[in-house]
Symmetry: C2
Subunit: 196 residues, 2 copies
């Protein structure tokens, strides 16, 4: 195995372990030792690739960016877009999944960590741009500003729903708001390409 291939493999294992730890233990519980344990790596290996803890988290943010974008593209690619219920179901499947939990941990951690915030802000800007592009081409919104605002709004809505999921004792409880969301989005998505 090539040296760089091994390096990439280790980094990948470290990042996946970091994301898993973020999901199961939270940002605070994601200690270097915990990540090493999950990745089957040593502390030396971790600190070799990511000298500071902030570097690991920033890299994890990049990793999550790829994961979230892939999930979004997949959700919008397959299936009938006119079927709003199915679309909401797919979005809900994403936003009740682990990637968003890890993302939540990073965002909240970034609120009081300036270095992490700038890293996440960059990634979030990229994600929003890509999501807006998806939104624009899929729903036929011409105005870029409108597309961006729309994408951000929908993403914010689902972000909030996944927050509710944390406190609700069952998935059913949170899922019960989906009809309301559907009712909220229906008139907006109905007028394809009819932006002023």
């Amino acid at each position: 195995m090539s040296v760089q291939a091994r390096s990439i493999a280790t980094r990948t294992r470290l990042l996946e372990a970091t994301v898993a730890a973020l999901v199961e233990r939270g940002a605070h519980g994601t200690s270097l030792a915990e990540v090493c344990r999950r990745a089957g790596a040593s502390k030396g290996a971790l600190l070799h690739h990511y000298p500071r803890r902030a570097d690991l988290f920033a890299a994890a943010a990049d990793h999550l960016f790829a994961l979230r974008l892939a999930e979004l593209e997949e959700a919008l690619a397959l299936g009938d877009l006119a079927d709003l219920d199915a679309l909401l179901e797919r979005l809900w499947a994403i936003y009740s999944g682990p990637t968003l939990a890890a993302w939540l941990e990073l965002v909240v951690a970034a609120r009081t960590d300036p270095a992490l915030r700038v890293a996440l802000a960059r990634v979030d800007a990229d994600l929003t741009r890509r999501a807006a592009a998806l939104f624009r081409q899929v729903f036929g919104v011409e105005d870029p500003a409108r597309a961006t605002a729309g994408a951000r709004t929908i993403m914010a809505l689902f972000d909030g729903l996944s927050l509710n999921l944390v406190l609700g004792q069952g998935e059913d409880h949170a899922r019960r708001v989906l009809p309301a969301v559907r009712e909220l989005l229906a008139p907006w998505l109905g007028k394809k390409g009819s932006s002023p």
Copy 2:
């Protein structure tokens, strides 16, 4: 000063210090020492009133419940309800404020802390019930289930917007989605009492 009055005063100072620390330093940065420093109390006093760290956070959640409910009631009480822009502005003022930042910290911390989660779930259920009641009487929705779902949806939307605020470098950037939100809510709130 009476003994219980002193006790209450100390507890209040501790809880306000906890909330302030949550806002400025995050859940992880809210150490016992930090809270004592801000409250001007000693470690002994803190551990006397709240033997475990989880007790302090649970009490802080109760404190935040009162704060958030008061803010919501005030926002809905004053002003013209037909003026959707003004209403959104008032809600935005709440959700970009410190109380929601502290709430966010607690919710995310509760995700990986079962004890805190049950405490927060109880408080959140209370808050949702009260918010649904407000929503119901203000907007004239008869069906209780619809009112609950509607209140939860709107709160989720603003929760997500405040999350966006964390990463956006300026308030203007996040505020730009308000027109989209307005457009989203307008048809829904327009049909007062016209639930099927």
